[in-house]
Symmetry: C2
Subunit: 154 residues, 2 copies
C-alpha cells in the first residue's frame, strides 16, 4: 500500500515544514509516502476558494484510491484505531490510501462526497498547516503500533 | 489574569520549540504568560517518574491557582468553548490560570486530583512535546476569539 498526503498550499511556517518533513521521512521507512500539494486559491470568497481547491484536490485522486478527509466534522479515533484502520486497508489490498487536508476554509462538498472516511483530529480547530504535522505524526505512530515498536506509550 | 504553562522536560525537538515560542510570544500580547519547566524524571519506571514529576509540578502551583490538566482522558472542547472558559475565569477574577502538560507517561494521580479541569486535545495520543505547541496555539486562538480578531475561521 502507498500513502499519499494531499495538502492545499505551501507550508509557510518553517517549523511546521520541519516537523512535517521529519515525520514523512520516518513514515517512508514503513511504506511509500508521497506529498501532493495543490495551490491555495488565494484571495477570493471562501466558497469560491474551496470550489477551486476542491477541483484541484479531486484531480490528484485516482478512481480506485481510498480517501480519508481530515475535517473537524469527522469521526474521532484513537491512535490505536487509526492503526487498526491502516491494517485493514492493507489487508484489503488497497493500493493508494490518500489523506486529504483542506485549505484555510475547509473543502468543497465534492471532496467530502468523494471521501470514503471523514476523520477529525480534534474538536479544537487547528490551522490547516498544523493539521499536516499532526496527521503525519499520527500515521507514523500508527505504523509503530502495527510494528509493535516502542514509540507509542498506550 | 496571568497564564502559566507548566511543562515536563525540555523541548528537545527544535521545530516544536520554535512553534511553541512563537505562540507563547503572541499570547503575551493579550495577557502575561509564563512557562515553567519541571525536569523530566529520566530513566525510571513510568510510575516512579510520574510520581517524581508530579511532586515537582505541584510545587509550581499556588493554593489559589486555577489548574487545567491536559490529558487524553479529559473533556474535549471546541476552540470557542476554550475561549468561553477563559472569559469566565477572567470574569471570575482568577489570578493565575495554570495549564499543565505531563511527561512522556502522563501525570500522577495527585496532579489529576489537584486539577480543577481535565482537558483533552484529541482522542489521538500526541507526544508530550507536541501537546505544548497545540495548547499554546489554542490559547492564542481563544484570545483572538475573545477579542473578535480574524485569526479563527469558525
Amino acid at each position: 500500500m502507498k500513502l499519499e498526503l494531499v495538502v492545499v498550499g505551501k507550508t509557510t511556517q518553517k517549523w511546521i515544514m520541519t516537523g512535517f518533513d521529519d515525520y514523512v521521512g520516518r513514515l517512508a521507512h514503513y511504506l511509500p509516502c508521497t506529498v501532493r500539494e495543490v495551490p491555495a486559491a488565494g484571495a477570493m470568497v471562501p466558497q469560491k476558494a474551496m470550489e477551486k481547491e476542491g477541483k484541484a484536490i479531486l484531480e490528484k485522486i485516482g478512481a480506485r484510491d481510498w480517501v480519508v478527509l481530515l475535517d473537524e466534522r469527522g469521526d474521532e479515533w484513537t491512535s490505536v484505531q487509526l492503526a487498526d484502520f491502516l491494517s485493514k486497508r492493507m489487508n484489503q489490498g488497497v493500493g493508494n490510501l490518500v489523506f486529504v487536508t483542506g485549505g484555510a476554509f475547509g473543502v468543497s462538498p465534492e471532496v467530502r462526497e468523494r471521501a470514503n472516511q471523514v476523520l477529525s483530529a480534534s474538536r479544537f480547530t487547528f490551522t490547516h498547516q498544523m493539521i499536516r504535522v499532526i496527521i503525519a505524526e499520527q500515521l507514523y505512530r500508527a505504523m509503530t503500533i502495527i510494528k509493535n515498536e516502542s514509540y507509542h506509550h498506550p
